[in-house]
Symmetry: C2
Subunit: 163 residues, 2 copies
């Protein structure tokens, strides 16, 4: 349907704009250029995540513990943003969580051939930022990274930073 | 709800990013800078509008005439994007249409004080582009502009270009 497509199209536009602007005037992008792009997208995601979680948790009871928060992200937050729940949540019970989405919405528009795998990271930065922003607003500082091994499946790793 | 908020937050981020990047290193933006920003946002909207209308019209019967297309934009398209229909559609029956939205979603986050009125145009460019992109995909070339007199009410003027 068009309403989830709206988010996907808009996200595609942002990614392509940020990369194009960074590349303008240069022949090839180097690692530093790519890092700038990822950081810009991550920052946008962070602020969007903060805003969203604020609305989502307005009427929610407070959370029992860290795992309770992560479950909220996997269910309520993910459903609102990506129209599906996280398929699998794993944790080492020491602040590291792996959230696996077997059909990640922002990758389904990319073809699944191996040659696109290297393109995948640029479509993950915004979402990593969004998770980090959401957690930050609930009071958890974290580092969020993502990796893709088989498209369109994606694993987000959240490492909660202890004070 | 968070899902429409997602679009609104994301749109805010894009606007602020595009303006910030144009302004970087300069003190004040001049009219040319502002025109560049509007054009970038309009272009993004154009491509998103094209993508959306393609999905929306996939199973739709073909349109009777130009007015029929405009009604589709006011009802189906607007509802998918902004969760409400256009409140009022007027036409001179010579290719000019005025679409009035009395509570335009992308302006409701701005305060309604007069001092914000001059900020309004930057939040309209993307949507103008989206309408133009949607119409273009159905085969209508158009010029789309928007104006705000009392927030958050907004009028979009569509002038269909005759070949």
């Amino acid at each position: 349907m068009a309403d989830e497509a709206l988010f996907e199209f808009l996200h595609m536009e942002i990614v392509s704009h940020v990369y194009k602007e960074q590349q303008s005037g240069k022949g090839e992008m180097d690692n530093k250029d790519r890092a700038v792009c990822v950081s810009v997208l991550e920052g946008m995601g962070f602020r969007v995540g903060q805003g969203l979680i604020e609305r989502l948790t307005r009427d929610s009871p407070s959370f029992k513990d860290e795992l309770d928060i992560m479950k909220f992200i996997c269910k309520d937050f993910w459903t609102k943003v990506f129209r599906r729940q996280i398929d699998n949540l794993r944790t080492n019970h020491q602040g590291t969580y792996v959230l696996q989405d077997n059909k990640f919405a922002l990758l389904t528009q990319l073809s699944s051939g191996k040659q696109y795998l290297e393109q995948a990271p640029k479509y993950l930065a915004f979402s990593c930022g969004m998770v980090r922003g959401a957690l930050s607003n609930i009071g958890l500082d974290s580092v969020v990274t993502a990796e893709v091994s088989v498209m369109p499946s994606c694993k987000f790793q959240v490492v909660v930073q202890k004070l």
